[in-house]
Amino acid sequence: MSAAAGIGLKPAHYRALLTDRPPLGFLEIHTENYMGAGGSPHRYLAALAESYPLSFHGVGMSLGGAGPLNRSHLARWRELVDRYDPTLVSEHVAWSSHDGYALHDLLPIPYTEESLRALCEHIEQMQDVLGRRILIENPSRYLEFSYSDTAEPEFLVEATARTGCGLLLDLNNVFVSTCNQGEDATRYLARIPSHLVEEIHLAGHSINTVDGEEIRIDDHGSPVCDPVWQLYRDTVSRIGRRPTLIEWDTDVPEIEVLLGEAERANEAAAVPSRDSIQGNRYALAP
């Protein structure tokens, strides 16, 4: 897969992408949004899959949940992966449902052996059902649990060691979480081994003031901020280029804005913007 940046696929951009086919490394979807049976989401996704590699990014598996995974949700995932054969498949280190209630948010887990066991069991189950490796993404966090006995980077690395999965490194999440906890993003990143990182996410966040104190909220509703661009340049120079996604999920702007952010990511990583175009199909790196 080319290292040129990709963008999140939004219905508002279906037509523009299909008409103009701008140079992009890949398109990423939230897998849950394509769990309807038919209609325009699938028609456009199938047409765009002719021109772009796809990345399937789940937000509802609840890999960090204490209870069992939702089997019908796994089965729908499997159907979609079989149908579209995405290049990348990922989910979050978080929980989002409990006892049949779906909460639709990526909720934090304590970093303990008990959590690690539940997470790893679920990663393995997802990998078994899909018949392929997945990537797991570091969450954005607004709180920590007092009894966590491992730091997040070590926790993630241990999960990859136990399950063979890879990492989707979300640099905006690293920045948001470390700022919210008064920690240092550079020290966090230094503890992530290069070879585990197979995709990078970039997004914007907002800064809210609560009781006179700043807290950063990962709302994917604005351009990537300068400190996160700096983390990206530092990361690429340390580990090399990786497929990089511009995420923008709230107040989605015109496609040109997303293409501009993707171009900026290419420049930051010094990827020639058209290196991935090979006629009508994008070349996959060996």
Binding site: E32, L107, Y142, G182, D211
Partner: protein, 259 residues
């Protein structure tokens, strides 16, 4: 320290509790807050949960949102979410019972057509996501219509609706991006509707009561003869086969093998 299931149970109870509910003291002891207090940190997650679900309802019911305005919509959505928490990891199906909820929602009773507008938007969504099926060509439809014992299947995306209000016209003016100033005149009373997505776009078509009766009979699995009888019962003068054929021109039917 509590077990992971216990922690997630009390976290879930907090997230689904009414706004302003106090945080379980044990939960707050186990959460570490530095500068920003624990309650405020937990509230961010709770806001996210409600914002996601309100956003999903707003996306699914744009005409209802426009009709009642954002503040009232938000109020109605919060009440609905409290009564019907999400049970599916995908938001596509969330809010299917919102029209029924609005029907019994006292605060919205001054807008009597609101539940029907919501019902139309729900059927629109069902049609939008319905399975694909090749439409039945008009010529094949004509053959089936001339055989009383034949079965004629509605397209997999077809949905039927009746309303005592001009619901499709109300819906149209509220999903159009153009700003409408002042009062608008909406003609007509009751409506009979066919919502169908034979290709990429969902179409909302106004049909006659007799055509509606015939299509409803076909939907129930009746034969062509029974469906035509159901339609002509309502309007003996109508040339129903001609009306159904013109619907076939608009790709309203599919072959039985699709079912």
């Amino acid at each position: 320290m509590r077990s992971l299931p216990d922690l997630q149970r009390s976290f879930t109870e907090f997230l689904l509790s009414p706004p302003g509910t106090r945080v379980d003291p044990v939960l707050s002891v186990e959460v570490r807050g530095q500068r920003v207090p624990v309650e405020k940190r937990l509230a961010i997650y709770k806001n996210n949960v409600y914002a996601q679900l309100i956003g999903a309802l707003r996306d699914s019911y744009p005409a209802v949102h426009r009709l009642v305005g954002h503040d009232f919509f938000r109020f109605a959505a919060m009440e609905y979410i409290r009564a019907h928490p999400s049970r599916s990891p995908t938001l596509l199906e969330y809010g299917a019972s919102f029209p029924e909820f609005l029907g019994g929602f006292e605060a919205a009773s001054s807008v009597p057509y609101l539940p029907d507008v919501a019902r139309l938007e729900q059927l629109y969504l069902e049609s939008y996501h319905a399975p694909e099926a090749a439409p039945l060509p008009k010529a094949e439809c004509a053959v089936l219509l001339s055989d009383g014992s034949a079965q004629l299947r509605l397209h997999t995306s077809a949905r039927l609706m009746t309303s005592s209000f001009p619901v499709s016209r109300i819906w149209e003016v509220n999903v159009r991006p153009a700003v409408i100033d002042g009062r608008i005149q909406i003609p007509g009373g009751a409506e009979y509707l066919l919502i169908v997505r034979p290709h990429t776009t969902v179409e909302v078509r106004r049909i006659s009561s007799s055509t509606h009766a015939a299509l409803a009979a076909l939907e129930r699995g009746c034969s062509v003869a029974e469906a035509l009888a159901a339609g002509t019962d309502i309007d003996p003068g109508i040339d129903l086969p001609m009306h159904l054929l013109s619907l076939a021109d608009g790709d309203t039917f599919c072959s039985c093998e699709n079912q």
